[in-house]
């Protein structure tokens, strides 16, 4: 190795001038480097000729009959002897007329497919000099010309905000390719055109490869290539690279452009006259100081756009007094970027309007038409109410008979346990028969009802309708005065109150945040809805859907009324605007819905097997001991305390107690009722009057949230006072409205 370095005729490949010939004598580097270079044909003894070495960018070397681009850093590690070629190298290396073509495009537009088809096996993969970004270079001969293709990294724009964008724009600016082929996806043309809007500003002719026209046609999108060509002012070649269609036309158009037969006059995005004046001023200030190869007009535009890389570059090349003026101009017109980038979108919209024929019926078109009604403040709200009613109706119509049957089976099973365990102590028999089966078993009989409920919700979510429901909810909140960032956590509350309370962190104002936390427990979470779904048909078998619908609607109205009060006093001057990206409507996928149902039921079963089971056992112990009769048990002692409150709503202490246990988890209400009454389907309907049943359901809907939510409220407010205030508010509302419903019901029903 040392002897090579000491050879006075041995120099690195980097030092060879274009046109020079030499023999490779030695390569320096690790095994990986040597293997890679050998694969490219760089082995000791091989003759080479330098085609291009411009002091910037990769070197182009003719080796073993192919042109290969290698990085400058790599070239420093290849040592050659330029003076006396071996005899075998004395044959002249012939070079055809050659053109360098850069392939530009966004990721996923089929650029790699186009590159592979154009270059076949004549391609080499390396890295861009000094970068970790992959560089692919390949060539082909067409029409008597050697075409060298450089596959630029996939980029969405040329704003130099990423390594890939910097490489792409630097290559075009510094290496001066003879042609840039912009590959775009015809099916998503507007997304692809932003890059083209930037490419036409650079000093290189652009040819548009309109790829994936087959996919666009399949989607009903028809693009008038000739119209697009006229609108853009550059040649457009429709193609379907995946089917090897349009390649010849692309190459022949490229050749015609290289021959000068086809000239281009690109239509460029134009900016507002006000900013045009600033641009001219900026141009005048920087003229004569812009380093080569950056064009002055383009540099001025990029400065005004706030391009950090160019700002630093110009700052280093301008005299301080001029930079001061430039800096002030840029500072005063910081928002010019809105006009410059906005002009590009306007340009895109113009091109699309001119050349794209959208299908009559598309998913997007269908979504727009449906949303005209489904997100309409009044029509949409009525539809949402009807949809909610249908969900409850379906749940009860299909689920209730199955639940009733399962409940009977639990009774039969409990009797069987009593028979099988007849020799065991009474309390053990009752622990299993009344405690576990009566409580937990009763909860589990409601699985079919929950499955249907979750299926309906999953169906609505998967079609994209639930997002509209969220959107409409904001409309209502806006009408009632509550808007701003409060609505976001409130929406979350429909899933679970815990993340909703956590979600209030997005509200900057502490006061607004605390008051939003107060409102959240009023939102019926899925667990609360599930309990209501279970209880309503027990008391109102013939009008369950209507009653459940009324309960949910009543809850929401109460929420909106409180929101109105909060708005009056707290949010009067707050205005926060949002955009929501609503998904397109689509046919629901049964697998997705199945997964949604499964996840929710699994969550319910996990809860049933842990929290609910533990609470069930504790409640059973208190209901069994010391006498073995619930009416004289420890539980009844607690119940007696609740009895006077319950009387205000016509409720026996047993029902009050069932609701109190929902503090651990909402579903415990069912478990407690199961332990106390056994088969609740038979006992509950006869236990209380209709007004009392309504009061019971209202009380359940508005009762204090579960312990997890309360703990989160404490954690987020960091205040026992606010936590107690929240508990007090919910307790007061649930009791107050429960009593009101009972008393009004009694008045109406005599």
């Amino acid at each position: 190795m040392l002897q090579h370095k000491e050879d006075k005729k041995l120099i690195s490949l980097l030092n060879l001038e274009p046109g020079s010939r030499a023999n490779i004598r030695h390569l320096e580097g690790g095994h990986a480097f040597l293997s890679r270079m050998a694969a490219l044909g760089f082995t000791p003894g091989t003759p080479i000729q330098v085609i291009r070495n411009t002091h910037h960018g990769p070197l182009l070397i003719m080796v073993r009959g192919s042109q290969v681009a290698i990085g400058r850093e790599e070239a420093t590690r290849v040592f050659v002897n330029p003076s006396e070629p071996d005899g075998q190298n004395s044959q002249p290396i012939t070079v055809q007329e050659r053109a360098v073509i850069a392939l530009a495009g966004q990721p996923n537009v089929g650029k790699s497919t186009v590159f592979n088809l154009l270059t076949g096996l004549n391609q080499h993969v390396g890295n861009w000099p000094g970068k970790t970004v992959e560089q692919r270079v390949g060539e082909c001969n067409f029409g008597g010309r050697n075409l060298l293709f450089i596959d630029l990294p996939g980029t969405y724009s040329l704003t130099a905000s990423s390594e890939e964008e910097r490489i792409a724009r630097d290559f075009i600016l510094k290496e001066h390719p003879d042609l840039v082929i912009a590959v775009v996806d015809a099916a998503k043309l507007e997304r692809s055109l932003y890059l083209v809007a930037e490419l036409v500003l650079l000093p290189a002719p652009v040819l548009l490869a309109l790829n994936m026209v087959d996919v666009a046609e399949q989607e009903g999108i028809h693009i008038e290539a000739k119209v697009l060509e006229s609108a853009l002012g550059i040649p457009v070649v429709p193609m379907a690279a995946a089917h090897n269609q349009g390649l010849d036309q692309l190459l022949s158009t490229a050749n015609r452009m290289l021959d000068g037969e086809l000239t281009t006059k690109p239509t460029r995005p134009s900016i507002l006259p006000a900013h045009q004046m600033i641009l001219t001023e900026l141009r005048t200030l920087i003229e004569g100081h812009v380093p080569s190869p950056y064009p002055v007009d383009w540099t001025a535009l990029k400065l005004l756009e706030g391009d950090d890389e160019l700002i630093n570059l110009i700052k280093n090349h301008l005299p301080p007094e001029k930079w001061e003026k430039v800096g002030k101009l840029l500072y005063d017109h910081e928002d010019a970027v809105l006009d410059i980038a906005g002009a590009r979108y306007e340009w895109i919209a113009r091109m699309i309007r001119a050349a794209v024929v959208e299908p009559q019926v598309t998913k997007a078109g269908l979504t727009s038409r449906l949303d005209r009604y489904l997100t309409h403040p009044s029509i949409g709200s009525i539809v949402l109410m009807v949809v909610l009613g249908i969900v409850f109706w379906l749940t009860y119509t299909i689920g209730a008979p199955i639940q009733e049957w399962l409940s009977g089976q639990v009774d039969v099973f409990a009797e069987s346990i009593r028979t099988w365990m007849s020799g065991a102590p009474d309390w053990i028999i009752e622990l299993f028969a009344s405690g576990v089966l009566g409580g937990l078993g009763m909860v589990l009989t409601f699985l079919p009802i929950l499955a249907i409920f979750y299926f309906s919700l999953g169906f609505l979510e998967d079609t994209g309708y639930l997002a509209r429901a969220a959107y409409l909810t904001d409309r209502w909140m806006h009408m009632m005065g509550l808007h701003g960032k409060s609505f976001l956590p409130i929406l979350l509350g429909f899933g679970c109150n815990v993340p909703a309370v956590l979600g209030t962190r997005i509200i900057e104002s502490k006061r607004a945040r605390l008051l939003t936390i107060l409102l959240i427990p009023l939102i019926p979470c899925t667990a609360r809805l599930a309990v209501v779904t279970i209880l309503v048909p027990l008391f109102f078998p013939t009008s369950a859907a209507l009653v459940a619908w009324g309960l949910v609607t009543g809850n929401l109205l109460l929420l909106l009324a409180l929101g109105l009060i909060l708005h009056r006093f707290l949010f009067a001057n707050e205005h926060v605007a949002f955009i929501m990206e609503l998904p397109l409507y689509h046919l629901p996928n049964l697998k997705t819905i199945g997964l949604y149902v499964w996840q929710n039921l699994l969550g319910f079963l996990q809860k049933a097997g842990t929290v609910i089971l533990a609470a069930t056992l504790v409640i059973w112990v208190f209901s069994y001991f010391p006498t073995g009769d619930v009416m004289t048990s420890y539980l009844s002692w607690i119940g007696q305390v609740l009895a006077p409150i319950g009387q205000l709503m016509g409720l026996p202490w047993t029902l009050m107690l069932a609701i109190i246990t929902s503090f651990v988890a909402k579903e415990n209400t069912i478990a407690t009722l199961g332990i106390i009454f056994g088969n609740i389907n038979e006992v509950l309907p006869a236990l209380i009057t209709t007004p009392a049943a309504l009061a019971f359901l209202v009380f359940q809907m508005l009762f204090i949230p579960c312990v997890a939510t309360v703990a989160t409220i404490k954690q987020e407010t960091r205040s026992i006072r606010w936590t107690l205030l929240s508990l007090g508010l919910m307790l007061g509302l649930s009791l107050g409205i429960g009593v009101l419903v009972y008393q009004l019901g009694n008045l109406i029903m005599g």
């Binding site: 979504t367 979350l492 899933g495 605007a577």
Partner: protein
């Protein structure tokens, strides 16, 4: 066009990209592209209403929500939601 979009966003409380597309006579896809550009430039911010309250939009099975005990019952759907920033308000001179 970007200034117009900012004005439209600020003019309402909650709008969808479909509403805005209709108002501007362009496609919803172009509205989303422009909204992303405005986020990049600091005129709009993407809001994460989820449990994590981080700057990034969480996914239920990855990121900060992955350990959340309530993720299975959480109603949070990572729908894109943007709001106007102070810089955005200044740009339209509010």
């Amino acid at each position: 066009m970007l200034t117009e979009l900012l004005r439209i966003i600020y003019g309402g409380n909650l709008r969808t990209q479909h509403d805005i597309a209709q108002l501007m006579g362009i496609s919803p896809a172009l509205v989303s592209m422009m909204a992303n550009q405005l986020v990049h430039q600091g005129y709009l911010e993407e809001i994460n209403p989820g449990c994590s309250c981080t700057d990034e939009l969480p996914q239920k099975d990855e990121g900060p929500c992955s350990d959340c005990p309530t993720k299975k019952v959480c109603g949070f759907d990572p729908t894109h939601l943007w709001t106007i920033t102070e810089k955005g308000k200044r740009a339209i001179s509010i």
